[in-house]
Each structure stands twice: as C-alpha cells, then as structure tokens.
Amino acid sequence: MMRILWTFITCVNYTVLAYFFLLNTVYLTTSLFAFWGLRQYRRKKRNINIDDQTASKAALPITVIAPAHNEELTAVASMKSLLNLIYPEFEVIAVNDGSTDQTVQRLVDAFNMAPAPRFPMASLPASAVLQIYHSKTYPNFWLIDKVNGGKADALNCGLNFARTPLFCAIDSDSLLEREALKRIVRPFLEDTTTVASGGIIRIVNGCTVSGGIVNEVKLPKNWLAKFQVLEYLRAFLSGRIGWSAMNAILVISGAFGLFRRSIVIDCGGFDRNTVGEDMELVIRLHRYCREKKIPYKITYVPDPVAWTECPENIRTLGRQRDRWQRGLTESLLKHIVFLFNPRYGRLGFIAYPYFFFLEFLGPVIETLGYVSFALCIIFGKISQDFMVAFLILAFIFGMILSIIAVSLEELSFQRYPRLKDIGQLFLLAIVENLGYRQILSYYRVKGIFTMFSRTKGWGKMQRKGFAATP
C-alpha cells in the first residue's frame, strides 16, 4: 500500500516539475514577446504620433460604462476621474446594479442629477431599469438605476443605452488616467478591423489620489497589496502585452477595455451566466469573428492605465481569486471547442491550451506539488537532485520572471520613481514564493471546486475609498 502511495507521489512530483517547467517557459516566452512588443510600440509611436488626431474630430466617440454595486465610498471619486478624461467626445453611463447602500444618492447629490428620459438603442438581456438620471452639471454623465442582476447584466444594460461606435467597460472603482481613452483608442484608428483593445491595470493602494487623479505613485505599505503590485506587473507587462504581440489575446480585463459596440451587440453582449464575463466575451468575440469570417483584431495597448484598489486582507483576496478562477474555468469550459482546433489557429494551439492546462488545471497541480513535496521532505523520501530541480523550476525560475517584469516596467514606463520602491519590487520577487503564491493556489483550487455551486453576483470587496488613500 505504502509503495503504491509513494509511486503516486513520485508521479505527482514529476508532473509538477513538468508543469513548472512548462509554465515558466511560457512566461519567459511571453516576457520576450512583451519586450519586443513594447519596443515596437515605442518606436512606432515615435514615428507616427497621432495624438493630434486622437484629440480631434477624427477620434471615435466613446461611451464609458461603469457598473457599480455598493460602491458608495469610491463611486463619486471614480466618476470625477472619468469626467475629467481628456477625449474629444465621450459619455459616461454609470449603472447602479441594485446597490443596497447610498451609491445612487451620493452620485445624484454630487453631480446634480435629475430623472431624465433615455431610449435604449439595443435590447440585450438585462434586468429592469428603475430610473435614469442625467447630470445637470455634466451633460455627458448619465446614471441608470436598475434591479440587481450582476456585473454582466449591468454592462448589458449600459450597452443597451450606449450610442457611440465604441464603448469602454470599466469597474466603477477604477480610476482612469486622463489620457487613457486617447491611448486605448489608437488601435481602432490604425486598423478598422480592431474589435477590442485592453489597457494596463495598476494598483492604486499606497498612491496619493486627489480629485480622482493619481498624483504620486508609491508602493502600498500593506504586504498583501505589495505582492499584488508585482503580480499585476507580471500579468500585464509580461503576460498580456506578450500575448498581444503574439496576436493571441484571450483576456481583456473587465476593469478597462475598449470594444466596438456593434460587434459586441451582434454577438449577444456580456454573458450573464458567468462571473468571468470579461474573458468570456473576448473568447466569444474570437469565435464569432472566426466563424463568420469577419476580419478582426484584438490587442493590448501598453500605456493607457486604469488604477484599481486591491484587497488588503486575505479573506477578501481569497474571495476575489476564487471568483476569478471560477470565471476562467466557466469561460474555458464553455468554449472547449477551441482546444487543439485548427479552425482557431494559434488560439486553438497555443493560447487556449495554455489557459486550459496551466491556468485552469495549474493550481490543482501546483497545490498537489506543494503537498507531496512537503510529505517527501517530512518522510525523507526525496532525492537531492529532485529537490534542486524543484527549487530551480518552482522558485528561482519564477523569481527571474518576476524580476523581468519589474525590469520591463523600469525600461518602459518607470511609474515608480522612488528607488526604495524598485528595490522592494525586486525583493518581493523573492519573498512572494514563501507563502503568497501558495495562498493564491489554495484559493484558485477552491474556485474550481466552488464553480459548480453556480454562485453569481459581485463578490464582496472591502473598500477603503480613494479619499482614504494616503
């Protein structure tokens, strides 16, 4: 019996080694592509600077849709930041998704809003609208108060009332940089087949914010938040920019993405039956365009930034990651047809299998690996060679990748001006392996198992509010 158990553990150990090797090789590849992509972007932007055009009538009008649920602490500051955006023609539609707090009242008071008629231009499935408000101070600001139905439902509702060729889906707790729309719209101007583009999400915790604008960028004091800063740098600078350079983007963050309205409506809007509506929509857009033979492009732009507040305690972080993993799992399983399907090109053979085997199943393998590694150490059943290989692949390789992500940040955007912060980011690349990654793996595994409970909704997030940001 014991022999069978140890044979099983040995198999697990080697599977885990293979997993880490594969995972980190993919990360390294995307990092290299990201480096290349960032360089190309910078050189291209230097030669063809279309800022004058994006600031003119040539810019496509945009509707920013900000769904909100119990966001009384951040809603006013977020909307102020949106209304301060530098873009020739845009409208902001905040969608209150049945908040039980003072979100609506705060917005109505802060922006001098009154009930006003507005006719829907599409009929995507969404819960009933209770009241529509229009700001008397800002003619381009609308608030839709509706029955609770979840984030996707709120986005669909906003989309029904949007009239512009493009819409920007954001989280109502995100702060967009003032030039963010001007930058994220660029792919739509350079290539009319573009159907979606994504921007970078950064962590606002620790930064100084006033009037909805991030004035000073600093690392947060809270350690969990610090780890997330590094994680976001890795995910966006190394990951998504890299996937975009390979023309194989499967995710555009729900916190900041720009989409062509007509095509999203044609393919049915956001899926209300998943908690990962952002990823699901992007996969469905790929599928829709390929199946209908519509030429299309989905891309990432490295310089438009949305700042978002991240969880500062384990419980909230756990809930967030559980939710993200459920969203990922649901989206992948719904579109399993992609897996190794030549019809979907590099998406079917590279991007989808990566997400399926390494992001969806990965946490299970990783957690099993930590457990079996610990058991082997406790019972002294581990060879020195294996231990070295495990440490190199799981930790050192991972650390190098994090260091690459920080270096990409320093080579390109240099948002963290303080040397102390940069030093800390490099240090975090080492420390995160001692607990943080394992905690995330646990919650991601939990997310896979709780997926079948079909819990929908917003997921509670404890906010401090931007006013409380130092």
Partner: protein, 267 residues
C-alpha cells in the same frame, strides 16, 4: 536628431526653419542610409527628412510613399501633408489606397488639412470611379470637412448610381452638411431602403434638407423597427420645427414616447 525632433513637433514657420538649419548638415548622411536598417529605422529617416529636409529631399519622401511597409508610407504621407506641397497633391491622393485599414475620418482630416488649394485634386479623386471606394470615402469626408459646397452635386451624382454602401453613407452625410433643397428629393427616395443604417442616414439628412411635406414620412419612421431610424426621425421632426407633434407623442402611449421626450429635452 531625436532631440531636435522632439521640439520640431511643436514648432512652425520661422522657428522650424531654425531647427532645420541646425539639422541640415546631418541630413545627407541620413539620406544615404534611407533604405538601410529595419523598417523602424527607415520610418525614422523618413520622418527626419520629411520634417527638416523638404523640399530638397522630396524625391526620398515620394519614393517612401510606395514603400512596402504601411508604417513608412504613413510617415511619409504625414510629412508631405504637413508640408502642404502642391506638387505632391496628386501623388498623395493616389497613395491613400495604401491605407485601407486606417480610420477614414483620421485620413480625411489629414487630407483636409492641406487646405483649399488642393480642392480640385480632391474633387477629381472623389469623382474618379477607378479609385477604390474607401479612397473616395476619405476624399468625400475631407470635402465635407472643408465645406466644399459644389461637391454636394458630385455626391448626388454618385448616389444616383449603384455604389458601395460606405461611400453612399459618406455621400449622404456630405449632402446633409453641404447640400440644398435641390437634393431633398434624392434623399427622400433613399428613405425606404431595406438596409436600416441606410434608412437612418437618409432620414437624418431629411432633418436638415426637408420641410413640412416630410411629416408623414418622419411620423411613419417613428414606428420603424430600428431604434436608430426612429431616433433620427424624432430628431428630424424637431429640426423641421415639429415640436408640438413630438410633445404629443411624448405624452401618449406611443412605444417611442420616451424617445420623443429625450429628443425634446436634449439634442
């Protein structure tokens, strides 16, 4: 050179000439490497020569317009447009066919920025059936931006023939902005098109060109299955001063009552 370029983008006239004189001794060397290096280097060289070296280095810029990389072509195109050289207008219009994927409005604004002395060339290109449809769309939009009233007749002539739908939309928009009552009948004849966006564009133009005789058409359009057609009908009703009718609809149980209220309150 990059240092000079950084400042050049913000300067015009005399000041730019001063920078050009500083750059002049180095331009020959850049011209010699014009066709070497990767595409980004070639685009960079094009930009430098186009910013500091015109008209002397015009042949380089013109040859860049037929470069295999759209990136280089666009760089040359923008430099020549900014320089506004009448000798290059024809070639610039022809080179528009290289930018099929670029946003038409953006290109139209660039073309329109050349100024009135290019209007004949633009009109000729707009009328020219041998040009790809999207080039004609760009030129049509440029003419609209330039407020060239005679081009409304050209647009009407194009609309009378079977044409690409995108070009037809551009022509309707041009007639809406620059046309007169003489074009109203043509636009009216398009209001019954099967394509909802076609109908919407035509109805929208009626708001500007039509009169009270269009009341039945606009009233019926409020019931159109497309909310866009209904929206433009309501807006057109307001434009032809039919607010009392809109108010009546807004107060009624009409399915588009909310739309009527919105148009009355806003726009």
């Amino acid at each position: 050179m990059d240092f000079l370029m950084e400042h050049a983008s913000r300067l015009r006239g005399e000041e730019l000439l001063i920078l050009s004189s500083i750059a002049a001794p180095y331009l020959r060397g850049i011209a010699q490497t014009f066709n070497r290096g990767d595409l980004y280097h070639q685009a960079w060289a094009t930009r430098i020569l186009g910013t500091f070296g015109l008209p002397v280095y015009r042949p380089y810029l013109l040859s860049a317009l037929s470069h295999r990389s759209p990136h280089v072509v666009m760089t040359a195109f923008r430099c020549l447009i900014a320089y506004g050289d009448p000798q290059s207008f024809d070639i610039l219009v022809w080179s528009l066919s290289r930018f099929e994927k670029w946003n038409r409005n953006l290109l139209a604004l660039l073309v329109a920025s050349i100024g009135k002395n290019s209007i004949e060339v633009i009109r000729k290109g707009f009328e020219d059936e041998s040009q790809p449809y999207f080039v004609r769309v760009i030129l049509c939009t440029a003419l609209r931006e330039m407020g060239d009233i005679p081009s409304a007749d050209i647009a009407a002539k194009i609309l009378r023939k079977k044409t690409h739908i995108e070009l037809a939309f551009a022509c309707i928009r041009l007639i809406r902005n620059l046309g007169g009552k003489q074009h109203a009948d043509l636009i009216r004849s398009l209001c019954g098109q099967e394509n909802k966006m076609f109908r919407a564009q035509a109805i929208r133009a009626i708001g500007r060109l039509g009169d009270e005789t269009d009341l039945p058409l606009l009233k019926a359009g409020l019931d159109d299955p497309s909310p866009w057609v209904a929206l433009y009908c309501a807006t057109a009703l307001k434009d032809i001063h039919m607010e009392p009718l809109l108010k009546e609809i807004a107060r009624s149980n009409h399915p588009r009552a909310a739309l009527a209220s919105q148009v009355l309150e806003l726009s």
